[in-house]
Structures are given as C-alpha cells and as structure tokens.
C-alpha cells in the first residue's frame, strides 16, 4: 500500500471535519476523493500531506509512519486549487524550487526542469513569471513543480476547480495521460462526480466527515452502497419506494404489469438523449432519460399518458433515515 | 510589554495620590483650559479636514489634469515631514515675518492651521480607496432613475463614503489631541490662551510637576484610546455588514 490512513479524526473548533476515517490507496493508482463541500475530503488530503495534524489516528506513506513527520520531509507532491505559484519566481525557478532546496547541482536542476517543462508542455515559458501565464498553464507549472522532487505520492486539491469548463476538460484527459506515463500514486480531490468518474480508477466518496463508499467508477454508479452515494454520483428518479437511474426506467405506450401510469409534462431534446419530465397519478414528478430513437418511436409529447416501468436491477430501496 | 509597561507607569503615577489628587490635578484652571482648547481646535480641524479632505480625494480620483501624479504624492508629505518642520514652514509663511503682512502666530487660528497640515492625509487616504472602488454603475443607475447630480451625491455617494470619512476623522482627531511638534512653535504656548494639552504636559514635566503631567496624560490617553477602539469597532462592523 502506498498510503494507509487509519482512524483519523480532525476537529476545527466546533466543526468535525474528519470522523474516524480509514483509507488505503494502492501503489501507482489514481484515486479521487469525491464529496460535497464540507465533507472532509480536502482536510483528509491535507492530513496525508502533513499540512494538517490529525487529532487522532495514523498516516503511513509507503509503509513508514508519517503521522508526526512535518510536510517538508514527507516526500509528497501537493498541487493547490489556486496553484500557489511563487509569484516572484520565473516558471523555471518555481519548478526547480524543490530541487534547489535539496541542494542538487545546478546542471542537474536545469536538465530536470527542462524535462518536466516538456512533460507539461511549457517548454517555451521557462522565463515567464506566473502572472504571465493562463490559469491552465499555471496549474501545469504547479504540477511540474510537485513532480520535480519525485514524490512518493502526488496529491491534488481540487486541481481544476478554478479553471474554465473547456480548459478543465482538456486538463482532465491530460492528467490521465500523465499518470499513465509517470505512474506515481495520485490522489485528487473533487466535488465534481463527472470529473471523478472520468479520471479516477478508484473513487472514495466522502460525506459528513466519513467515507461513504470506496469503489471503481462503474461499480459506484451501478451499485451505490447508500442513498447518499446513489444521489451524489448521478441523477435519480423516485419510483414508489425505490430510487432508480432515469435511464433505467422504461416508457411504455400501454399499461403493463408493474408499470405505473404517468402524464408527460415536458419533452427536452438534448441531442443524442431525450429527457422526459412526467407526473404520476399521485402527483410525483419523475424525470426519465430515453434515446432519441425511442422518443421518436413513442411519439412523445406533452399531455400524453404513458406507463413507467423501472429496471429493479439498478434500483435502491429508498431509506429516508439514511439520507 | 514594551508598549504596555510605559503606559502603566503613567497611569500608576497619576493614581499615586488617590482619586481626589488626580481630580485636583486635572481640574486646575490651567489644565482645564488646555484640555478645552485642545478639544476645541481638534474639532475645528477635523471639521475643515472632513470637507477639504473629501474634496481632495474626489478630485484625485474622479478628475484628470496634468500634474495629478505629483499632487497625489504630495498628499503624503505631512506624514513624512517632521512635525517641527511643519510648524516652522507655516510660521515662515503666515508668521510675523511672512510676506502677507498678517500673522497667525500665537493665535488659535495658527494652531488649527498646524493641525490641518499634519492631519491632511488622514481623511484623503481613507476616502480615496473607497471612492476608487465605488461602483459607478450605482450612480448611473440612480441617474437613470431620475436622480439629479446633487441627489446622486447626497443619496448614493455620501452614504457609501461616510464610514471611510468617519474613520479618517477619528484618526485625525486622535492625532490632533496629542500633536506637539507642529503646534509648539506656532502657538506661543500662552497659558489660558494658546496652550494645548500636550504642550501643557511638556511644561509640567519641565517644571518637575510630574504628577500633574501624568494626570492630564491619562485623560489624553483615555480619549485617544476610546477613539481608536471606536474606529476599529466601526471597521469591524462594516466588514461584517458588507461582506
């Protein structure tokens, strides 16, 4: 195991940020810490990095107990949401900072920085200052800076949170790509389930200071362990006392066994998929997702009466108290 | 410690003879008149400062003219210029040997002038940044709703500037109450006429009447600390209410 967190709790004043959290991260894996704001995910990352001291519990990195080792000696690479670029240094000096702290020979630093700048596509920018870079470029520089010291683990705190949607998308793919090439154990924090699904091999869902579920993206989506996870990782429709994914509901033109009557309120054509908003006879609103072909076949339009049949394989029994 | 200990010494000294001795020291006719004069000239100064400081800040932010950069820099001059020099420069121009044929030396007008000089930057520097950040769209919105220039100023701009103006005034007042260097030459220090509190204290120290000096000092201390706390509390209140 690359990172082992056991029974970590952390309190800020009255606020409980981490409540007896345990977590294992495999060597060389790419893991997402996913959760709503205030769920403790950033705090957990900072505890792993040594930027916060846990009130109780232990942190091991590559088998060594690092619970009380200060950040400077943990050998972690940390990337901040707002880049934390050293504004008074050039890109080259930023990336070379960790190596110069370690008093490496200049020639070696130079060579290593050149390699890294190439890796993050910033070769032509070595002499610029952070203020002269775009947000995406700054974040790539911050990544190169973290990688320069060959960290045992790479930790990223909402790395794309401050970027535009387009740049964000591009950087996600790029991070995956980079991970395949560098293969350093990587943990990143995000509140965006799509980002977690797209980038990570393993997702740790956090809620209210605890770990709610740990699973690969597909399993998480298809077999959520709780109502919270089900609702958090994708859209949900309520059918009777079950929670179902909107695409797991079949729309039938005629009554059938196990199907419930509903009226179409609105049909939204979103290119490939069609989102249908319906109202059941007892007044509940349900959103269903169907393919374009299916919508055409059913000739769906507002006011139409149809029957809905959920696919129980992907359904979860609603449990109000656990929400 | 470095700050507290000396002040503690002053307070202790003033309390040495008990409450009645303290009261006697503070209520001698000369002390009372010095304190009254100090408050009076400080109020006058602050009032003039409020008007002109705001006007200057306005001109520096909203107006464009050649040499504006130099004027902006000049505003800080009173902070940088030694106070004794400030007093001397005013005497050179408005003193008995000045070119205008009138003299404000040894008058209360002279004291106000000296205080105006040293406290000039307070209101300007407090109002300027607020004015700079003031959303012009707010004024445009008011104008589009039919407000005239005066109404816009009175109902939109002034309320937004008010906290900064008051903060500047508070600091300026505290400074006026304690100012010594700028006043000492121009005032002539005539007891009952042009002797302000700080000069009175100085005189009492010189004539070895340390207890009286300490007692009046405590009054000054209390006034300026209260003011400073008021300004800080107002700033906190504003920060909380305007995010």
């Amino acid at each position: 195991m690359s990172i082992e967190v056991v029974g970590v709790s952390k309190r800020f004043g009255d606020f409980l940020a981490l409540d007896d959290v345990s977590l294992n991260v495999r060597d060389g894996s790419l893991t997402a810490l996913l959760g709503p704001s205030g769920s403790g995910k950033s705090t957990l990352l900072r505890v792993i990095a040594g930027l916060e001291l846990p009130d109780s519990g232990t942190v091991h990195i590559r088998g060594a107990d690092t619970t009380h080792v200060p950040a400077q000696r943990r050998g972690v690479g940390f990337v901040f949401q707002h880049y934390a670029a050293f504004k008074h240094m050039t890109v080259r000096d930023n990336v070379g900072f960790g190596l110069s702290i370690r008093k490496r020979p200049r020639a070696e630093i130079r060579e290593r920085v050149d390699q890294l700048l190439e890796l993050v596509h910033l070769s032509g920018f070595a002499h610029r200052y952070p203020a002269q870079l775009s947000g995406g470029q700054r974040q790539r520089m911050a990544l190169a800076r973290a990688l320069a010291v060959e960290p045992a683990v790479l930790l990223l705190d909402e790395p794309f949170g401050a970027l535009d949607a387009n740049v964000r998308k591009e950087l996600r793919e790029w991070l995956r790509d980079l991970h395949e090439r560098v293969h350093v154990t990587t943990v990143f924090v995000t509140h965006d389930q799509e980002e977690a699904m797209e980038v990570a091999e393993q997702i740790v869902v956090m809620n209210e200071a605890r770990v709610a579920q740990v699973a690969p993206p597909r399993e998480l989506y298809e077999h959520p362990g709780s109502e919270f996870v089900m609702r958090f990782v994708g859209p949900v429709a309520e059918m009777g006392n079950e929670l179902v994914r909107p695409h797991d509901i079949e729309i039938l033109p005629l009554p059938d066994w196990g199907a419930e009557e509903a009226m179409v309120r609105r049909v939204n054509h979103l290119g490939f998929e069609v989102r249908v908003e319906l109202e059941t006879t007892d007044g509940r609103r349900v959103a269903v997702q169907v393919t374009r072909a299916r919508a055409v076949e059913l000739e769906l339009e507002a006011g139409q009466i149809v029957w809905l049949r959920p696919d129980h394989r992907g359904a979860l029994r609603a449990n109000r108290s656990a929400a | 410690m470095f700050v507290l200990l000396p002040l503690a010494a002053v307070i202790a000294r003033s309390a040495q003879g008990g409450a009645s001795a303290f009261w006697d020291a503070v209520t001698t006719p000369q002390a009372v008149s010095a304190l009254e004069l100090t408050v009076g000239v400080s109020l006058a100064t602050v009032a003039i400062n409020l008007v002109f400081g705001t006007v200057i800040a306005w001109v520096l932010v909203r107006d464009e003219f050649p040499g504006k950069g130099i004027v902006k820099g000049l505003i800080d001059l009173p902070f940088a210029l030694p106070t004794i020099v400030a007093g001397l420069t005013l005497l050179a121009l408005y003193g008995p040997k000045g070119p205008f044929g009138f003299s404000v030396a040894f008058t209360r007008v002279g004291i106000v002038l000296a205080l105006l000089f040293v406290t000039l930057p307070f209101v300007v520097r407090a109002v300027q940044p607020v004015l700079l950040e003031l959303d012009r769209e707010m004024e445009e919105a008011a104008a589009s709703l039919g407000a005239g220039r005066r109404t816009v100023f009175r109902r939109i701009i002034l309320p937004n500037l008010m906290p900064a103006m008051l903060a500047g005034v508070g600091l300026a007042f505290a400074r006026c109450m304690g100012e010594f260097g700028a006043v000492v030459l121009i005032s002539g220090n005539l007891p009952f006429k042009t002797e302000v509190a700080s000069v009175f204290i100085f005189g009492q120290i010189e004539s070895d009447n340390v207890t009286a000096a300490a007692a009046v000092s405590v009054v000054l201390l209390a006034v300026s600390l209260l003011l400073l706390m008021g300004v800080a509390a107002a700033a906190r209140w504003r920060a909380r209410h305007e995010g």
């Binding site: 930027l51 940390f78 504004k87 | 010494a9 009173p78 020099v85 050179a92 700080s198 000054l220």
Partner: protein, 264 residues
C-alpha cells in the same frame, strides 16, 4: 464640467496654501542669502552632531522595528491564540498616544525616580537625558508602521505558497526567506520608509527624554526648535530644509514603490 473644474481649483488652492507655499517659503528663506550662507548654517558643530545623532536613531530604530514588525505581522496573520485581538490593538497604541505622553512614560519608567531608575543608576546606565532613552522613544513612536503595512499584504498573499514550499521540502526558515519574505517585500519596504520618516522627524517624545543638550542629546528636529527659540532663524531654516529634503525623498520612494507594486 464647470462644477468639476471649480472643485479642482478649490482642492489645488487648499493644497497650495497649506502645503506647497509654506514648504516653498522655507526653501526660499534658506537660500535667500545664497547657498554658501545656508551651507554655513547647517555645518555648525551642533548641527552636524544633531545630524549624526538623528542618523543613529534611525539606524537603531528602523532595523529593530522592521524585525519586530515582520515577526508581529506573521503572528497576527498566521497564528490563532487567545489575546490576539488585544495584541492587534496594542500595536496601534503608539499612533494614538501623544508623543509627549510617550516621553513622560519613559521618564517615569527609566528616570531617576522611575520604576527602574534605581536599578539603572546602580549599574551606571543612563537612559533619560541620554541617547539610549531617545532611541527607546523613537522605537516606541515608530513601532506600528511595518506591522500595519505588512499585515494586509500577508493576508492577501495567503499561506498556500508557504504550504507549497513546505511540501517541496523547505523548512519553515527556508520557506520564510525564499517564499514569504520575497512576496511581502514591497509591503516591508513601504513600512520601512514610513518608519524611517517618523524616526527622522520625531520631536515630541524625544525632546521630553533628551534634555535638549546642544552637541550632546540634540537631534535634528530638536536642533530646529532650539535654533528657532534662540532667534537663529538661518540655522532653523537650513536644518529644516535638510529634513524637508529627506521627507521629499521619502515621499518619492513611497510613490516609486507603489508603482512597482501596481506593475507586478
């Protein structure tokens, strides 16, 4: 348009009458009888001694307050502890207190009859009526400047850069020298300039503790006052011009730093 021009005229006239003309007048009076006369007036032994003593005040007070100021700002911004609000307002006290009161306070502490007076006398240390007391007064008076300039900058810079440095292997000391200090350098520089200006010009507090002994405990501002009181107008004006020139230099460097900050 007309209204704004009138406002501009009012503002400029006020500044001219209050600031520019009086200061100009002192320059005029100084050089009225030629540069040689002015030079002679500022190079009397007492004036030269006052000049060096003033520089000594600055040379001690400014570094002391810079180190204290940065340290205090770091504590105020980065640490949480009970009594922080108290420390925060204590730092401002020297702004609020009359210089004369500061002088009196030091006399009461370190003077012959003061709290530490006997102990100091026993050890042969003279504070009051000696440069040591004047240095203490100067430090006290100019205490808040660096703190007040550095605190907002430090707050704006945030602690992320320091954290980044520590995850890259920098010790707190290295992070301070290589990351924190460079990023607050303009704030520090600004504070240092203000401190210098105040230390150069302090009159009230220093004159209480100095005893005003010409050629011994006279700083340049005290020299100005003494010369004026002794009807040596040439000496007072020319020493004032030296101080005013230093003040102008201060204002100039303040503006240069502001510009530097903006272009960053």
């Amino acid at each position: 348009m007309r209204a704004s021009r009138r406002l501009r005229a009012v503002a400029l006239a006020y500044l001219a009458l209050l600031l520019v003309l009086p200061v100009g007048m002192v320059f005029y009076r100084t050089f009225e009888h030629g540069v040689a006369a002015a030079w002679a007036a500022v190079t009397t032994p007492d004036a030269i001694h006052a000049f060096w003593l003033t520089l000594l005040m600055v040379a001690v007070a400014v570094p002391a307050n810079t180190v204290f100021g940065i340290g205090c700002a770091l504590v105020l911004v980065r640490q949480r502890f009970p009594g922080k609000a108290l420390l925060n307002s204590l730092v401002d006290v020297p702004f609020a207190v009359s210089p004369v009161v500061v002088g009196l306070a030091l006399v009461l502490l370190y003077g012959r009859a003061g709290w530490f007076g006997t102990w100091l006398a026993d050890h042969g240390i003279q504070v009051i009526f000696a440069p040591l007391g004047m240095i203490l007064a100067t430090i006290f008076i100019s205490l808040p400047f660096v703190v007040r300039e550095v605190v907002p900058v430090l707050r704006e810079v945030g602690s992320e850069q320091e954290e980044a440095a520590s995850t890259l292997g920098a010790s707190p000391w290295q992070a301070f020298w290589r990351v924190t200090l460079p990023s607050i350098r303009w704030g520090v520089a600004y504070g240092v300039i203000l401190t210098t200006a105040r230390a150069l010009g302090e009159f009230g507090a220093v004159s209480v503790v100095s005893g005003k002994l010409a050629g011994q405990t006279e700083t340049l501002p005290i020299h100005v006052e003494q010369a004026f009181q002794n009807f040596d107008l040439a000496g007072a004006y020319s020493a004032s011009v030296v101080l005013a020139a230093l003040a102008l230099l201060t204002v100039l460097s303040m503006n240069l730093i502001k510009r530097e900050e903006v272009t960053r």
